[in-house]
């Protein structure tokens, strides 16, 4: 208790004055070696309130619990909307408490009543818990009278071949991304929100993630994805306000002022054909990515952070980084400066019963100003040419508008959307 409270104070103090408003962590972030994830983590508190939602610029925590929900509230559009706003108030209050390391608001000590908090995270520090909220395209159909508030940037994702999307793992009216260095704390968050939402929403799908598959901070050593390659070497650093404003935070260009200071989240469940990948020879694995497997260096350099030289040819006159190499196709230099903030996690859901193969891969999450101009063209290009496609399948998808941050205890998620 003392430790937890003391940390709270320290977290608050450290947060003051940080740029990009609230979306920062006070924690000493781990060095990123797989397995070291909890060594120096666990005690941090990330401020919930602020101009921006936490969990976007925040250096990626070790674990993810992601869930999407469909709104089932019935009645007239006004009644449905009132029920949804009421639930968002209770969600926001609960999220503020949980991210501070406290229990869900309500009575936990009445022996005749079920405790308000489910209890599994009781006594556990929040471990940098962030809870990030978004709304999907479905919210802007006729049900809530919000059709006129749909941002143009929240256009349904077009078909992005090759993809094989499972409707049971795609879409959703709302999403919640809970990240923490403690998987129990992250799961506790989505579990309790699902409980608070009962009768108003139902969970549509959920995904647990681990391994912080993508670095998004200069302080973090680049982690490795399940293919064994460093992922996120050239990602946007969440602490770089200029890059964040240029590529991630929605600015005055938006047609919907309620999204000012927000960001668009694209989630893709990317299954890796691990068995095939694992029998590919090393030189080909490296050619597929355009990087050396162990050092992470581009094939035109010697160290991870060396800038790839896409014009460099080898002795055979062929480009050192192949034309279909993943990093060539994804690089901002080759996409007119286009960038996204990646914040994905590795996942496994055990074994695929039909084949006996591992059900594992990357739960890709990206934040951006406008998916139409960022994720969509990027993925279209990768989908057409990426050598990696032989080893991956996009099997789930979600698109959500994450509104700006919650200003304080009187405010709630997406309040400007419903104002």
């Amino acid at each position: 208790m003392t430790t937890r409270r003391a940390v709270l104070g320290w977290g608050g103090a450290a947060l003051a004055g940080v740029a990009a408003g609230g979306a920062v962590t006070a924690a000493v972030v781990g060095d990123g070696h797989p397995g070291d994830a909890t060594a120096s983590e666990g005690s941090g508190v990330v401020d919930f309130y602020g101009a921006k939602q936490a969990g976007i610029a925040t250096p990626a925590q070790a674990r993810l619990a992601f869930a999407t929900y469909d709104v089932t509230a019935r009645g007239t559009a006004d009644q449905r909307r009132a029920a949804l706003v009421e639930m968002l108030r209770s969600w926001t209050r609960a999220a503020a408490e949980m991210t501070a390391g406290r229990t869900v608001p309500g009575v936990n000590t009445n022996p005749a009543a079920p405790p308000a908090d489910t209890g599994e995270a009781y006594g556990a520090p929040p471990a940098n818990l962030t809870i990030t909220f978004g709304v999907g395209p479905g919210l802007f159909d006729g049900r809530f009278g919000l059709a006129g508030r749909r941002p143009a940037a929240l256009a349904d994702l077009p078909k992005l071949a090759p993809e094989n999307l499972d409707p049971e793992r795609s879409g959703g009216d709302l999403c919640v991304q809970a990240c923490s260095d403690d998987p129990l704390v992250a799961f506790h968050a989505i579990r309790n929100l699902a409980r608070l939402g009962r009768g108003t929403v139902v969970m549509r799908w959920s995904q647990l993630g681990f391994g912080r598959a993508t670095s998004n901070g200069a302080a973090q050593e680049t982690p490795r994805n399940l293919m064994g390659f460093k992922d996120g070497t050239r990602n946007i650093d969440g602490a770089d306000a200029a890059l964040m404003n240029a590529h991630v935070w929605v600015g005055s260009e938006t047609d919907q002022p309620w999204m000012l200071g927000g960001s668009y989240l694209v989630a893709r469940r990317i299954r890796m054909h691990i068995e095939s990948w694992d029998r590919d020879y090393l030189a080909d694995q490296e050619a597929v990515f355009g990087r050396a497997k162990y050092t992470g260096a581009p094939l035109t350099g010697t160290r991870e952070m060396d800038t790839p030289d896409f014009g460099a040819d080898g002795d055979d006159g062929q480009p050192l980084i192949a034309g279909d190499a993943h990093i060539r196709l994804a690089a901002h230099e080759n996409n007119g400066g286009l960038r996204i903030l990646r914040r994905g996690y590795s996942y496994t859901d055990g074994m695929l019963p039909a084949s006996g193969e591992l059900d594992a891969g990357l739960f890709f999450i990206a934040f951006q100003k406008d998916p139409r101009a960022q994720f969509v063209p990027l993925q279209r290009r990768l989908g057409q040419h990426d050598a990696l496609n032989e080893y991956i399948s996009h099997v789930g998808s979600g698109l959500f508008a994450c509104p700006p941050g919650v200003s304080g205890p009187a405010d709630h998620w997406a309040s400007a959307l419903f104002a």
């Binding site: 208790m1 003392t2 409270r5 003391a6 104070g9 608050g12 089932t72 019935r74 406290r102 309500g106 009575v107 936990n108 000590t109 009445n110 022996p111 005749a112 009543a113 079920p114 006594g123 409980r195 009962r198 009768g199 139902v202």
Partner: protein, 381 residues
Amino acid sequence: MPRIGLIGTGACLAAVSLLASGCGSGKKDAAQPGATAVTITLTNDGCAPDPATVPAGPVTFTVVNQGGDQVSEAELMRGDTILGEKENLTPGLSGTFSLHLDAGSYSVYCPDAKTDTTTFTVTGAATAQALPASVDAQLDQAVEGYRDYVIDQVTLLVPATKAFTDAVRAGDIEKAKRLFAPARAHYEQVEPVAESFGDLDPQIDARINDVDDPSTWTGFHRIEKALWQDRSLAGMTPIANQLDADIAKLKTLVGSAEYQPAVLANGATELLNEVGTSKITGEEDRYSHTDLSDFKANVDGAKKAFDLLTPALTAIDPALATTITQRFADVDAALHVLKGTYAGTSFVDYGTIGVDIRKMLTQKVDALAEPLSQVAAKVTS
């Protein structure tokens, strides 16, 4: 078949009502009329409450930071639980929070002070949530009504079971199949009561996976297997006789059972948990696929208990009563579209129900059971 004894539950709640209810509730940051005022002076040395002992009831705490630069918050705790707190009080600032406190020992905690914990005592009887006499009378009526309902259902269960077991003894498979679900419906409506009588529920209602030795398996589901899977009633006469005897015993026992309002409410929630864990999965009537009949009976039993509590609950928490009423209607509407005439029931064969509908039913039952689980504490005085 989770068995929560009525007697055990009742005893627990009786004890509870003497101790704590509404503990830690109360609106923060708003002084309550008639509340006892307590001042907590926050310094680097500690956070002593003044007075340190108050009578049970509403208490408003005013926390004043008198120049403590090492401390910025004070919390009222019971054991390890924070009941109320005021944070971010830099030197010179003050703030309040209000709580409804029952008798007992509490502590005031201010992290980083030299003495960070000070005892705070609340004396006297629990005054929390004393229900008005009119509500008490409504609750008494609810309990009486529920007692009558249970007796009625078991009184109907006796001949319905007898008709079923007669067909079994006569070796009439088709007739027994038609009478199976209608007899069970009376049982399923009051199942939590039956579950409170020790071995009786397992003898009447166990599934094959509930028994270690299948040769000792008795009751409805043993005969269900004979009818639908074995298609032979050979050896079922002793099982049928025993079922009659067990139901007769149940009838005697419910005649003298006593209930409390919270037992009604918890029993209703338990019935919905039964729906979620065994009916929707199709485990309950795995051979006959008459699960929807049991599903409806469980919901009806829960609805009856809730209806009886509704007048009192409407006085205590009208919003909760409205929510639950609406969600019962949602569940009923979902069941209504599955009406049919399968195997003596008013529903379709559950084996024909796809996963999408099963999922939707689960979600509607969960949406109902969650607020229903809040009722017991409301009607516990």
